[in-house]
């Protein structure tokens, strides 16, 4: 009779591992998953945050437009700034000249047909969420290590969670009692999302962990040191249009993605949208006269799994429906993590609720679950409220995000330590609902949308703001009813 006993003990051990590793990593993972979910539509968020840029149907790029972009590249290079050209695609039908400002790629947009400058407000846009997703805004090395560790801990939590619930996977998959007792409803939500989205969660966590640029396990060899940098050429660039056409032929692709400029050469890469495998193959041309030098491809068998992992994780190949599926799956995984965090607190409130550590844990949970969405909405609000001509407005938007989060954290921790966590939850949820309801109104009043596609984009963002507001309002009302 020892075997059943041993199995039960093993499941109990896994319960402890699942709870504690899950809670501590979950605080970080909720941030990673929420921003990652938003990142599925990073370009669309940037477009929403630059409502002045008209989103016309994709036109073929013209040599004139490319020449205008090339002139901008030269002007930037004269100022010692490294820039590149982002070619238009179906998702982002404008030509952009981008530079890295320390946290994101920003720069002016041009009409791909006429080369006219499309004056849009300065913003980091969806790039902010993208960078936050894999660096936590703490630098590529520290952030990369933190997110890599969080990914490993999520895999540990997943495995231990599977062991705990293995016997009841089928009942868990079909049972949801949202109006049952509170722990039951949260547990149902946790198990339902956990079981249904398990394959997605496994794939996205594993691929996300292995494609980290700063690997936890093996340092990727750096390319050989470049020859001493010569004076950066700022003389006229060769015509770029024929180079793009030649790249398409050489790389056998329909679309090109970026044009990079080094002191010696011009590099045109395959579009990320052209294949499930994210290869970044390049054709290289001489900078002076534009003659073809060579192509760089990564098509060995050993490279393919990583290209597939990158492609699956970034999902740039995907059509609109598939992107929405990624978005909804990411949202479900965020709900899985959030419900796990709340469940952890509910289970321990009666026994450990008086302990300072518990109060701090609840404060952190509030600032993650409610504070981060509030800050994300404040970021979008800042985009509408900060004047277009405000100097350094992109940085100001980011500052609003972090100032709001700091306020939320201070309120959550102070109220939790003062034994008023429900008040903190309620206030933050009501704030979230108010911001969500107000944003569509502010958007409609403050910004004209130039094209039908801009209007459709605006409506989509408005709908999601209202969904967020409704969910927050329902949660706040249930909390008020419970505590009154």
């Amino acid at each position: 009779m020892t075997k059943p006993g041993i199995r039960e003990t093993f499941r109990l051990h896994m319960g402890w591992l699942h709870s504690w590793v899950g809670f501590i990593a979950g605080l970080v993972l909720a941030c990673i998953f929420l921003t990652g979910t938003l990142t599925v539509f990073d370009q669309e968020i940037t477009q929403w945050m630059q409502p002045e840029v008209p989103l016309s149907p994709l036109h073929h790029i013209t040599p004139e437009a490319l020449q205008t972009a090339a002139d901008t590249v030269l002007q930037n290079q004269k100022q010692g700034r490294a820039v590149f050209i982002n070619l238009p695609s179906a998702r982002d039908p404008v030509l952009r000249v981008l530079h890295y400002n320390g946290t994101a790629f920003t720069g002016p947009a041009y009409d791909p047909a006429t080369g006219l400058l499309l004056k849009g407000r300065d913003t980091e846009g969806g790039q902010f969420f993208y960078n936050f997703h894999y660096t936590l805004h703490s630098g590529r090395i520290v952030g990369g290590i933190l997110t890599g560790l969080a990914g490993l801990f999520l895999l540990v939590t997943l495995l231990s969670g599977l062991i705990i619930h293995l016997r009841s996977i089928w009942p868990d998959m079909v049972l949801f009692r949202p109006f049952g007792p509170r722990p039951r409803a949260w547990l149902d939500a946790h198990l339902l999302t956990g079981v249904l989205f398990l394959p997605f969660l496994l794939v996205i966590t594993y691929t996300g962990t292995i494609i980290q640029p700063y690997s936890l396990f093996a340092q990727k060899p750096r390319p050989a040191a470049a020859t001493p940098a010569r004076h950066i050429e700022t003389t006229a660039l060769p015509p770029l249009f024929p180079l793009i056409e030649e790249t398409k032929k050489r790389l056998n692709t329909q679309e090109c993605g970026f044009i990079l400029f080094t002191p010696e050469d011009i590099r045109i890469s395959r579009s990320d949208y052209s294949s499930l495998f994210l290869t970044r193959d390049q054709a290289i041309f001489d900078r002076n006269d534009g003659h073809f030098l060579r192509i760089i491809t990564h098509d060995s068998t050993a490279d393919r799994p990583f290209q597939l992992a990158r492609g699956l994780h970034h999902a740039r190949f995907s059509i609109s429906v598939l992107s929405w599926l990624y978005f909804l799956s990411g949202l479900s995984c965020t709900i899985l993590i959030i419900s796990g965090l709340v469940l952890f607190l509910i289970k321990r409130r009666r026994i450990s609720g008086h302990m300072t550590v518990y109060k701090l844990a609840e404060g952190f949970c509030i600032l993650t679950v409610a504070g981060l969405p509030i800050s994300a909405l404040a970021f979008l609000w800042a985009n509408r409220l900060i004047p277009v001509s405000f100097p350094g407005r992109a940085e100001a938007e980011v500052s609003v995000f972090f100032a709001t989060w700091t306020l939320s954290a201070t309120q959550a921790i102070c109220f939790s330590l003062a034994r008023r966590p429900f008040a903190a939850w309620t206030m933050q949820l009501i704030t979230l609902a108010a911001l969500g309801v107000g944003l569509p109104i502010a958007d409609a009043l403050m910004v004209p949308h130039p094209t039908p596609r801009n209007i459709a984009l605006s409506c989509t963002v408005d709908i999601w703001c209202l969904i967020t507001a409704t969910a927050a309002a329902v949660a706040a009302m249930r909390l008020i009813k419970k505590t009154s």
Partner: protein
């Protein structure tokens, strides 16, 4: 939070890390991959096996030989790697 559990988890984590990395290193080195591909392979193997080994290692608390199994696994990886390469 009982600290002996945390200590056990740390031990299991370190041993899992060591075991997975040494075995991944051994397997990729034996495959004669170039350094860039080797680094990718090590990352892929280690990411897959470290969580599993942590779960096994922590679960091994219930068995008196559990932790020794992980110690043996990690030492064997290091020894074989050094003998083989």
């Amino acid at each position: 939070m009982p600290w002996h559990r945390v200590l056990w988890l740390l031990c299991a984590g370190c041993l899992a890390w060591s075991a997975a990395l040494s075995w991944a290193d051994l397997l990729t080195a034996a495959s004669r991959l170039n350094p860039a591909q080797g680094a990718m392979a090590i990352t892929a193997f280690a990411t897959a096996f470290i969580p599993a080994l942590i779960v096994i290692g922590y679960g091994a608390r219930m068995h008196k030989w559990g932790l020794w199994f992980l110690v043996l696994l990690s030492i064997s990886g290091i020894v074989i790697k050094n003998l083989a390469l």
